[in-house]
Symmetry: C2
Subunit: 346 residues, 2 copies
């Protein structure tokens, strides 16, 4: 069944693709089998991460970008993976909007897939990468990964993508400034969207100054991860594009203003990566991160599977009563890891 | 040395407190010792999480809140833990702003501590909880934990706090709507800040409708964590306040407008929790989550310490060349966990 699905998917059948994506996202047995089978066909796609604060118009920008990428020579297929916050009420509603957007685009060369963001970051990362593999194997040349960015998720997206685009808008207020500073750590390209709003030029200047300041420092610009190695999902360093000065562009996504320039910079960045050897380094970093996330998830699941509920609750009760610290409880509970097996390696 | 520091800290010495916080955040040997020693004195503080999108004026609101809480009977001490995105350039600048803010407040009963958000989510959670323990033991009755929220970090904050406040502002644009939906999952109190902006009433109505819709559903409102258990930092369910209808308030933090009402709702929520038994359930959930985060970090570190760099790179190379999948590499690498010891349990 899986082989049949993959065969149809390879021939461009969207229903088969959709089915494979669902199985992979559910981490079902057929999904796992599909991933093993299709993995050798991966490694061709250009993965582009797009992040920015709520209200920055990311979705509109991503849609405009997708349409424009389709016009490139050879009319490459474009996938959009939108990591959406999950709603407990509306649930499907967000997904529903996406589906409508997809219809609005009305181009079977563009596939939009929403993914719920609730759950482990490591888990999101692993699932996003798995969906990317499916699109990659299905012949999608560009995979746009969109997340709402603030803090963690931004860093995470930079670990999944060859090119990271950070979207900003004019006049978001004060505390955006600190975020901007953090954002420069991961951005390959910066976009000031909604550039017809007042303050756009100031935002652009601010970002350019920050970039240039950072670029001139002799200290390593990136990889200040004090906690690197603490948990798999954050365990690997982000491989930054050395020697690449991130351009700052203005766009008005609703009118597709500035999109050609953005595409140009994306292609330039890809070219730069390929010529500098950075592409291979990014690929290795993406795969390393993916492998480590999978290990962390497996370690956790194996441990979790070994700890009886009573064992955990007993420790929690001792900590509740201040008879021992959470750290001592963790040490006690780690004993369940002692005779761990490499599960599923049979 | 540690006992001396803790003694001084207990007597209200801010320098000693600051020193203990630094050691704890650095996870140094004295920091660990301090945590063990002070843990029995914890469990008294009311932990309040405050989250919201960039530009929502959270910091101003948190400062106004801190000042107002100080005026409560007995003049309780208030700690602010601000989880800031780290900047590789400005680094200390954000922290610097905070210190200035603290000076501006000019009240030694308020202690503001910034914490870098880069690094693992599980790590942030564990570090924030550790800092909370220090403040708690040092006699801070209220601990305000502030994060920039969008997606993950919101959920995380709800796992650390007794009361979670979600801050929104009028007219942030379209994709904020989907976030709002997600936010209802965790909010105990909703605040529309910058309520003098146009659209405030609409935002308020929207949020109230969402809350009431959600409240009327018979399905469990919360805990839709499909990936629960996947990784420790997200492994435990959020213990929501059952039977509590989250109020929606308007504030103008810059003018301290609406702050008394907010304080009233915070105290009401604490009272509700204590009367309903929810307080103990929250405490248990916070501690359970903390213990599980510590386990996940330890599992990961133990594994990471056992894997030689060559072993990992060999697997990455095989995946790069598409000779095996990331999942197969993870299975191979899990073998290093086989003879794991419960490190530091001596």
């Amino acid at each position: 069944m899986v082989l049949d699905l993959l065969d149809k998917m390879g021939k461009g059948n969207r229903l088969a693709l959709s089915r494979v994506l669902s199985e992979v996202e559910a981490d079902s047995a057929p999904g796992r089998e599909a991933l093993e089978k299709l993995f050798p066909s991966t490694g061709k796609a250009h993965k582009i991460g797009i992040t920015g604060p709520p209200g920055s118009g990311k979705s509109t920008l991503v849609n405009a970008l997708a349409k424009a990428l389709r016009q490139l020579p050879g009319n490459p297929k474009v996938a959009i993976i939108a990591v959406d916050p999950t709603s407990p009420f509306s649930g499907g509603a967000i997904l529903g909007d996406r589906i409508r957007m997809s219809d609005a685009i009305g181009d079977t060369g563009i596939y939009i897939r929403s993914m719920a963001s609730r759950g482990a970051l490591g888990g999101i990362s692993a699932r996003t990468e798995a969906l990317s593999e499916v699109f990659d194997a299905a012949g999608y040349a560009f995979i746009l990964i969109e997340t709402v960015g603030a803090g963690q998720s931004e860093v995470e997206i930079a670990r999944l993508a060859h090119t990271t685009i950070v979207v900003d808008i004019p006049g978001l207020g004060d505390d955006i400034q600190s975020i901007k500073a953090g954002i420069l750590e991961i951005a390959d390209i910066l976009v000031v969207n909604k550039a017809d709003r007042p303050g756009a030029q100031q935002s652009l200047n601010f970002l350019r100054n920050m970039i240039e300041m950072g670029f001139r420092t002799t200290a390593p610009r990136f990889g200040h991860h004090k906690l690197a190695g603490m948990v798999a999902s954050e365990g690997t360093q982000i491989t930054q594009t050395q020697g690449w000065l991130p351009p700052v562009l203005m766009t008005i996504a609703t009118k597709a203003d500035g999109i050609p320039q953005l595409i140009e910079e994306i292609l330039k960045h890809a070219e730069y990566l390929r010529e500098s050897g950075g592409w291979r380094a990014k690929e290795a970093a993406i795969l390393r991160h993916n492998i480590e996330s999978l290990v962390a998830i497996a370690l956790w699941e194996a441990w979790k599977g070994r700890v009886p509920d009573e064992g955990l609750e007993e420790q929690v009760a001792l900590v509740m009563n201040r008879q021992q610290s959470p750290r001592e409880a963790a040490r006690q509970l780690l004993a369940y890891n002692l005779n761990i097996k490499t599960s599923s390696s049979e």
